[in-house]
Symmetry: C2
Amino acid sequence: MAYNPAPLERLIEQFARFNGIGRKGAARLAYQVLKMEASQAQAFADAIRDAHAKVHRCSICQSFTDAQICPICSDNGRDPSTILVVESPQDVSAFERTREYKGRYHVLHGLISPVEGITADQLAIRELLARLQDGSVKEVIMATNPTVEGEATALYLSKIIKPLGVRTTRLASGLPVGSNLEYADEVTLFRALSGRGEL
Amino acid sequence: MAYNPAPLERLIEQFARFNGIGRKGAARLAYQVLKMEASQAQAFADAIRDAHAKVHRCSICQSFTDAQICPICSDNGRDPSTILVVESPQDVSAFERTREYKGRYHVLHGLISPVEGITADQLAIRELLARLQDGSVKEVIMATNPTVEGEATALYLSKIIKPLGVRTTRLASGLPVGSNLEYADEVTLFRALSGRGEL
């Protein structure tokens, strides 16, 4: 594909660096950029620089914010005694959409993964433990994904946090709402059974 | 998802404007931008502006180039008597990868599509006809996709071009190499049969 003019090729390479975008997908996106109005291409470029420059981690929960402290951490209406621990800022958005959780969050920015060489000290665990020092936090909810890495990280954290006298809980595993028993895998079915509650 | 800081939300909206990127995919890409090194985010933004500013249509074949005339149109080794007509610059790259075609190209930048409201005058047809005026072009190969729009556009062009005394041909339709007869649709099978050649 050496036929592309150099500036187009460079843009394709930039798109292809993203996880989830292959060479062909990158080319399709780059061609779409060429077809944009100049003002639109400029707005896209500005949005990238702007987001990268202005958005950073909240000094408390480590989620992304353009302030020093994110809106949730600075909201006195949110229960400071409960911290829900998630892998990424996207997960915070997912819980916020439920409109049911009224506590605070903590974003780890990753999960422990020996396969990918991600160890505990690369995650925002120190910042989490710092929040547990003054005794105001009563419960830490492990809301990492129900995957091998998510379970391992939850277990690792609970072993550190329990000795501090803080209750640690885990999201329920079971059948997703609207799903079909027939298509559920064995592990999910087993979890749904062993986690059954009173009607 | 009003939880995202404004600069992040704006970047997500920019990504979501692309065809083939939904809201969730846009969010995943935007989060990847935040995780980049500052220099990498800057390089991405620069690549967008650079590609948009420097890449434009070749004044002859209408493909994308950063020069006035693209490398293929300015290559005297390429046969000027044959023009292969394609929908988009990506298609030029596809044919160049075969390393078999030695003629020139013409990019229409679209296909006639009543459904999408794209009419012949929105395509680079005038530029194609201009190239046929001096009688040097002997054959125009219609290499639009074998879809309803591609076939309609090829037929439309051939009706204009044939009266000029220029041979117009169409890419062969048939079974893709490496495919399985069993899974071929009826139309493709019929085309493969009716277009059969001597062994």
